[in-house]
Amino acid sequence: MFWGKQKAAIAGFHPLHQALVWQRGFSATQPAAGWAALIASLHRHAGLVRRAKWALPPRTLDVLVPLILELCSDLGPKGTLTVAADLRGRDVPGKTGPSRDLPVRPPVRSATETLTVDPWLRVRAELRDGSILELLVVDRTRERRIAKRNPRGKYKAKRKSKSIQIIKVRRRLAKGAQSRVPAAPPPAWIGVFVREGERRSVLATAKLHRLPQSGQEQVDRILTVATEPFRWTPQAGTGQRSES
């Protein structure tokens, strides 16, 4: 049997870890202890599995794990974290919509536009202050292909693509929770929408016109957008040394 030891190692990993290897994604709800077990399993991967085909998908260790770590530290004792990660990439069936023809004029013979939408991360966390945090990260790619023919009959085809990323973070405050408008507005690239009601809801959205170039930059962008809804509630620290 080929790759027997590595297959056996994968069979011993956490079930969600195995889902990442075989299906390149997972969807699960569990408390912080469950996520800690998954992270411990993921850190064993590189030492036991060397086959490239079974490597962890990109964004696993550098984006997913840091986000889960930080959000787990905010969970309450009975709080759960739901993560739906689809790390298959954008070039899989079902993520690309139908092509649309664009109006053309000679020498261009045809122009088509295709949109690819890749919602690769959804998170829902029940925080210890009673609020609910929801996070969505979507990569959207627009690809345009043109074909043209010159007077001598030479045929050329060109394509151009542009990717953007949309980050949305919503925090629904606990019933009766105190909230306030932050002293300073968010940066211009972050939009804020507040929905009043029994449970105030603060939605922060951002549209990045350039995809983050590293895992650290990706985590920083997500956490920066996620910061905005937390500025709407008073901070626990008073800026003074607490009594001990």
């Binding site: 530290s73 002293a183 300073a184 901070q235 008073t238 040394r241 001990s244």
Partner: protein, 112 residues
Amino acid sequence: MTPCAVTTGFFTLGKCGQMAVAGCPACGRALCADHVADGGLCPECAAARNQFGHPAAAAAYRRRAHRHRTAQEYTDVGWYAGLDTYDRAPFDPGAGADQDYLDDGADALVDS
């Protein structure tokens, strides 16, 4: 009972609150058994000295770095002040943190 005064959480800050068994030798903060980091320091003092052996020290470093960075990006001083002075003081210049710009040694022309 003296409660552990170590800050926990990332966005929603709180105190550990477990029974303290020691004090940080650098800042004097009360520590429970789970939060005694390398050298008997609290997580923040350990992180400021680049000692990340304890998970809480790494978490403290990431939390402080995130607050510092986003407070600048949002131009919101109050966001960084959400950390109490125990959390912030170890990272202040001259507070014992590993900051190479403080002193480049006796034979250096200037301190960078």
